[in-house]
């Protein structure tokens, strides 16, 4: 049994547990063997002094739900080995919140163009700086702060 740091209940009545960053992969493997067969989503939250990763799990055999949270500073283990669906969710979290996932096969930006500066869902993201995207000759996106070089 992997130890949990603390636990509580969210407003909708789902059990919520905090797990140390070092144990997260082993803890999730245990949960998967326990019957949590669907990873619904991965959320990254920027709490200014630290980052948090939230996993929503669902078991379709008995309908149980579980929320797993871990505090991190930029990097956390990837869940792609356990649930294939984690791939896109982790890429999105890297893209928008800027959390790296160790062991991810292809950690590229998903929604924004490769080369985008900053992570929009961070609380200190500068909203007034516009970035312009253009498709390069090689089929990859180019990002620039100059409006003449993109749309």
């Amino acid at each position: 049994m992997i130890p949990i740091e603390s636990e509580g209940t969210s407003k909708d009545g789902t059990r919520t547990v905090y797990v140390a960053k070092e144990n997260i992969l082993a803890f999730m493997k245990e949960r998967k063997d326990e019957g949590f067969d669907v990873l619904l989503m991965i959320t990254g939250i920027d709490y200014k002094d630290h980052l948090e990763v939230v996993y929503h799990l669902l078991s379709t055999t008995n309908g149980n739900r579980l929320v797993v949270k871990t505090k991190t500073d930029e990097e956390v283990d990837s869940m792609t080995g356990l649930w294939a669906g984690a791939n896109w969710h982790e890429r999105e979290t890297w893209d928008l919140v800027g959390i790296k996932f160790k062991g991810h096969p292809n950690l590229k930006r998903l929604l924004l163009a490769e080369g985008w500066v900053g992570h929009p869902l961070r609380k200190d993201y500068p909203l007034d700086k516009k970035q312009f995207v253009n498709l390069g000759e090689d089929g990859e996106d180019r990002v620039s702060f100059d409006p003449r070089e993109g749309y």
């Binding site: 407003k11 067969d37 989503m41 939230v54 929503h56 309908g63 649930w83 294939a84 924004l112 929009p120």
Partner: protein, 368 residues
């Protein structure tokens, strides 16, 4: 062998991508070896926009996620927000929500039917489906005042009551819709070419479906009887009789059959709601419109709902202020679409449009 592979770029400006999906496909002759979907062409960062405004303001962004089933999105948001703020909703409002959401599900599936027909080379079902959908939109126009993006559900109830005229329109619609649907059904089922092109194509095993987090009609077409309205009922779904259609095959034709049966079940649900619709308030008087912007919340909540595409919900984190601290959208199309490579591998390039359209992706929801 490696040098014989051809890379083909499908989309983002292709009519059968249902929006702006781009897939990089690697081909060995006519067979797909590898597929790499590229998304993000419709990205607006609705999560950030919602975090920048008051709680009720987020509704307009939720509307624009799955724009063919706006009310289903709104439902996911209001349920989550009401749980977060401990707001009670009058019974009549909840029954109204259920009724409109089911009608919206039919409208969404009708769009899918029409466009799926177009993708498979049939023009007729498109007109039939849009003719029927138009009747639903007229009902929505009467009830909510808009035809596509409603902003009708409010935290604490709905914005206006359902008029007797609207009830009459809904009765008329449910009265003859199923016979009209059977006309459309025949165009697909009796078409030898359609059945041949979809049977055994784009298979998704149950194991893969669960691993990728696929939900909704796609999961049910892969053999799992999982419907949140039945398994984890919200609103008053536990008081209503309906079946959950399931198919074991997991191919495009199975998804077609599941969605077809779901529309009939939705009509059955609406008919039952019409007989049970209670009298009373349609919103919580404590939360009249001007009060809404002062709503504050602490803690977090996530209420899952069954949207036409699968499990939709919004994970809200409040920090005690009038704006959500984190507004995370769980969109079913996003998870469903991430399983594209498994469904395409090993099939012919001609099956690609059938498979992609069978997923019913809506890009407002995928790219957010």
């Amino acid at each position: 062998m490696e040098d014989k592979l051809i890379e083909v770029n499908f989309g983002p400006q292709h009519p059968s991508t249902h929006g702006v999906l781009r897939i990089k496909v690697r081909l060995d002759g006519e067979y797909i070896v590898d597929a790499y979907p590229v998304i993000g062409y419709l990205h607006r960062n609705a999560e950030k926009l919602a975090e920048m405004g008051y709680y009720p303001k987020a509704m307009i962004y939720v509307d624009r996620l799955d724009y063919v089933a706006s009310l289903n999105g709104e439902l996911g948001y209001v349920l989550s927000a009401e749980k977060l703020m401990d707001i009670q909703v009058p019974e009549r409002a909840q029954w109204i929500r259920m009724m409109l959401v089911e009608l919206n599900r039919v409208a969404s599936h009708l769009i899918w039917f029409g466009t799926h027909g177009l993708d498979m080379g049939m023009l007729t079902p498109f007109f039939y489906c849009f003719r029927e959908r138009e009747r639903i939109l007229r009902i929505f126009d009467e009830v909510t005042g808009s035809r596509l993006l409603y902003n009708y559900f409010a935290i604490g109830g709905v914005y206006s009551d359902v008029t007797p005229k609207a009830i009459e329109m809904i009765r008329e619609f449910t009265g003859n819709f199923v016979t009209k649907l059977e006309e459309i059904e025949g165009i697909f089922k009796k078409n030898y070419i359609y059945v041949k092109r979809t049977t055994g194509v784009g298979k998704l095993s149950l194991e893969d479906a669960l691993s990728y987090g696929v939900t909704g009609p796609m999961l049910r077409a892969s053999g799992k009887s999982w419907d949140l309205r039945k398994n984890q009922p919200y609103l008053f779904y536990k008081d209503i009789n309906f079946d959950v259609p399931t198919r074991p095959e997991g191919d495009v034709y199975a998804r077609f059959l599941v969605r077809l049966e779901e529309m009939k079940q939705s009509i059955k649900i609406v008919e039952q709601i019409l007989t049970k619709l209670p009298e009373g308030d349609f919103y919580n008087k404590k939360y009249a419109k001007p009060m809404l912007i002062r709503l504050k919340a602490n803690g977090e909540s996530y209420v899952p709902t069954e949207s036409p595409k699968g499990e939709f919900g919004i994970y809200l984190v409040g920090d005690g202020s009038t704006m959500p601290y984190r507004f995370r959208i769980r969109s079913p199309s996003f998870a469903n679409l991430s399983a594209t490579p498994v469904m395409l591998k090993g099939y012919k390039i001609a099956d690609l449009t059938a498979t992609v359209s069978s997923m019913d992706p809506v890009f407002g929801e995928v790219d957010r």
